[in-house]
């Protein structure tokens, strides 16, 4: 009797275990589906994750030695503004810097998110190239940038008066993008 019951039990256990053995193939099926879906789309198009969505809640400390303000969600809204994500180690940022400066001269506030940078490097960079930014937040570990959906530096966002992201430029700004997209958009937002 006892032996029989034991056998039955071990049989039961094995039946339970069979599902365990199916687990790898089930997980793989999910992965394969995701990969198949991944193939069906164009990976080079980068949709803006937060486009037409409010800016995420965030608060960044200042770059020490620049000012004491920092940069947070509260600084956005009221009127259209630009947010430029940059780093001193980023070569395209250096190249687009005159364009960022130009946008600031057009009278639109430009804020900066200083991405994964050292304060001393960031300060030296600003001293060398000029500082067009109203507020700069120092995102040393890059976590706020993740919340903004940043792929890499540089990136530039246009935020409207309600604090909603209405445009995003992935990569370096070009005079053409500024002339054809960003400035017309900012002027229209200003008129609203």
């Amino acid at each position: 009797m006892a032996a029989e019951r034991e056998e039955l039990q071990s049989h039961e256990q094995r039946r339970g275990a069979v599902w365990l053995y199916l687990l790898p193939v089930a997980i793989f099926a999910v992965v394969a589906l995701a990969l198949a879906w991944g193939l069906s789309r164009d990976a080079s198009v980068l949709p803006s994750a937060l486009l037409d969505k409010p800016v995420p809640e965030f608060e960044l400390p200042p770059i020490p030695g620049r000012d004491n303000h920092g940069f947070s969600r509260q600084d956005l809204g009221g009127r259209p503004m630009l947010v430029n994500v940059w780093a001193s180690w980023c070569v395209p940022c250096r190249a687009e810097h005159p364009l960022v400066t130009r946008l600031a001269r057009e009278g639109f506030p430009v804020h900066g998110i200083n991405y994964k940078d050292r304060p001393e490097d960031a300060r030296a960079w600003l001293a060398e190239l000029g500082d067009p930014y109203t507020y700069i937040g120092s995102d040393r570990d890059g976590r706020v940038a993740i919340e903004w959906g940043v792929y890499g530096v540089p990136e530039t966002f246009v935020v409207d008066a309600r604090g909603v992201i209405v445009f995003k430029q992935v990569g370096q700004l070009t005079p053409r993008v500024i002339e054809e997209k960003i400035l017309p958009l900012l002027r229209e937002l200003e008129r609203r």
Binding site: V25, A29, A32, L39, S44, P47, A124, E128, Y151, G152
Partner: protein, 658 residues
């Protein structure tokens, strides 16, 4: 010429079809003649693919621009070594290398596997043949390197300049040796599932193949990381880029496999788990190939984005991995489970190792594919970067690393943890001293670095203590210790080497991330700046001309307290054919530190320069080399050379040849 190569590929496909079907049938019917076809077909396939590969290499070396692959990826002014390396520096050519290595391993099993049971060899080679069918047809249908160009071109388009580098010339072959080498583990696992039998001798047959693949993959990843370090000019050595992760995942799974196979071999347990690991390791290798080749994930490395190719590789992946996992789900529950063991034992420690490596591999997998998965269910498009991996992967590694010397000392079946810890008191003291020294020198900010250094010394000293105990170092006369050392199985030395290598790697990683000094500034010729105790004088920039590029070369004189140390040259190269600029960092390296200088853009009357001081960074790759060396020593262990004692004439002959 190239047509012969093309023809050889087609013949190899036919051979692979034969190899994958008839021996499998023969094994089921116990038909000796049909089974004997497998080794012959495997060797024939190797010869055919060697010939095909040679014709492609010939076309590249002789600048035959009537071959499309040569036209698209080469140029007559390219130095000879890169004409050679350029053969696999592109999608089609790298596939030829892939199948050639697959055939190499198949022929290896055919030649060295003569003392395996006939049905087993036949089944292993049939599975290898199936993989070859998949990849050869993929090549012929979507990615043919042997096509002609009509009319032929006068000259080629050139090779991406950042790929023209000695380190990268060797990187893909090593990586592929690793990826494809794990196909043998996969075939062994599949054959075992078909036969329904797994025993210690199976693990012993498996071991040399897994080891060979693991050594190659270790070196391949290290080469890739080293290349990224000196070529990309950012001074970083690991970026958690999807393509890096794609090679790292099979390494983690393969490392787990290497350890679980030991348990199966010595204690006849963990059978199903070892089989599953063997399948998953190769599955991750295939996934790596898929990720790089399909363009599913955007990455700096992805160099072939073609949906048709992606769909084909995905189909291959589904058949190979899905099929094997189904077979696993069907057959594995019937395997006899092995003897039980106490949680605190060598087996227990190796299970702990496997658990953590598997979970770590899972986190890397999740981090790599999560963006895709999130997007698939309608979420935003994101990228997962180092912060994720720092928070998930690193904490998982810490208990694993702490356990390394402990696990190596525990006895099989039932271990004595307090006893082992008492024997490790020297290692513990070394770790504590390292931590205290780091804190004393660097203050409270150096806590994390101190922890890393302590971990490194714990592993290195702990491994050495274990080794010293084995040879009774200082406890018996030295001559006696020497005798014991000579009598020690090579596997013991191998383990110590591999673990010490791991410790050295941790040392290099900790030191180079915590102690790095970085200065980015504009320097005018003649200007001097201080960098981590050195004085760096910028001597100016001269124009130089290379074989297929022109360059600005910046020279830096480095002194220490006025005494000359070295002169470093850093170049910005402009490749005239490809019209691309690359930076060549100037690096002065010794065992203790790298001075790493990069010349940037001209800025006014000076140049932007980036100066880095990277302490002990060499040991990241040095540690990997020591680890691989451990693998190599293990490969020469007597039990692998001699194999299962079996008094046949043939195995005696093999021994004689050894």
């Amino acid at each position: 010429m190239i047509e012969y190569g093309h023809f050889a590929i087609a013949l190899a496909l036919v051979t692979a079809l034969v190899q994958s079907t008839i021996p499998l049938w023969g094994a089921a019917r116990r038909d000796r003649a049909m089974m004997a076809l497998a080794p012959q077909a495997a060797v024939a396939q190797f010869l055919l693919l060697t010939f095909a590969f040679a014709t492609l290499i010939h076309a590249h070396l002789t600048d035959d621009f009537s071959v499309r692959n040569v036209f698209e990826n080469s140029h007559s002014t390219k130095p000879l070594i890169y004409k050679f390396a350029g053969v696999w520096g592109n999608h089609e050519g790298s596939l030829v290398l892939w199948v050639w290595i697959l055939a190499l391993f198949g022929a290896g099993v055919a030649v060295f596997g003569r003392d395996l049971p006939a049905t087993f060899t036949a089944r292993v080679l049939a599975i290898q043949g199936l993989i070859a069918v998949g990849f050869l047809s993929f090549m012929l249908l979507t990615s043919n390197a042997f096509e002609r160009l009509d009319p032929p071109a006068v000259d080629g388009r050139g090779l991406n300049p950042i790929l023209q580098d000695p380190g990268l010339a060797m990187h893909p072959p090593m990586l592929y040796l690793g990826y494809v080498g794990f196909s043998t583990a996969y075939s062994f696992a599949m054959a075992a599932l078909i036969e329904g039998r797994v025993d210690p001798s199976w693990a012993r047959w498996l071991r040399p193949w897994v080891l060979a693949a693991w050594i190659a993959l270790t070196l391949g990843i290290a080469l890739g990381s080293w290349w990224a370090y000196y070529e990309l000019g950012w001074g970083g050595w690991w970026f958690w880029d999807p393509v890096e992760n794609a090679s790292f995942m099979p390494w983690l799974a393969g490392t787990a496999l290497l350890h679980s196979a030991i348990v199966l071999e010595k204690r006849n347990t963990l059978k199903n788990w070892t089989i599953l690991l063997a399948i998953l390791t190769f599955a991750l290798s295939l996934l790596g190939t898929f990720l790089v080749r399909s363009g599913v994930l955007t990455s700096v490395h992805a160099f072939a984005s073609d949906p048709a190719r992606g769909i084909y590789i995905l189909a291959l992946l589904v058949i190979a991995v899905g099929g094997s996992l189904l077979l696993y789900a069907w057959r594995a529950p019937q395997m006899q489970s092995g003897p039980v063991f106490a949680p605190i034992s060598r087996e227990g420690a190796l299970v702990f190792n496997n658990l953590l490596l598997a979970v770590a591999c899972g986190t890397v997998f999740l981090g790599t594919l999560y963006p895709l998965g999130l997007e698939a269910v309608g979420g935003p498009k994101i990228s997962v970067g180092p912060p994720y991996f720092d928070r998930t992967f690193v904490p998982l590694m810490i208990p694993l690393l702490i356990a390394v010397p402990v696990g190596a000392m525990l006895a099989w079946k039932r271990g004595d943890l307090p006893g082992v810890l008492a024997r490790l008191k020297f290692a513990l003291a070394a770790a504590a001293a390292t931590l205290a020294l780091t804190l004393a020198l660097g203050g409270a900010r150096a806590l994390l670095a101190g922890f890393g250094f302590a971990l490194a010394s714990w592993i290195v000293v702990g491994s050495l203590v274990e080794y010293a105990e084995r040879i009774a170092f200082l406890r018996v006369p030295l001559a006696r210790s020497w005798q014991r050392l000579r009598g020690l199985p090579r596997a013991a030395t191998a383990m110590t080497l591999a673990h010490v290598g791991l410790g050295l790697m941790i040392l290099g990683m900790t030191a180079s991330s915590a102690g790095r000094v970085e200065r980015i500034l504009v320097m005018r010729p003649g200007e001097t700046v201080a960098l981590a105790g050195y004085e760096v004088r910028f001597d100016g920039v001269s124009q130089v001309r290379g074989p297929n590029y022109v360059a600005e070369r910046g020279s830096f004189s480095v002194t220490r307290e006025g005494n000359p140390v070295t002169v470093i040259h850093s170049e910005r190269r402009f490749y005239t054919v490809e019209r691309r600029t690359t930076t060549e960092a100037g690096i002065a390296t010794n065992l203790l530190r790298d001075l790493y200088f990069v010349l940037g853009e001209r800025s006014g009357d000076g140049w932007t320069v980036r100066l880095y001081y990277n302490p002990l960074v060499l040991w990241i790759w040095g540690g990997a080399v020591v680890m691989a060396l451990g693998g190599l020593v293990s490969l020469t262990d007597r039990r692998l050379r001699v194999g299962v004692p079996r008094p046949t004439v043939r195995s005696v002959a093999l021994e004689g040849a050894d």
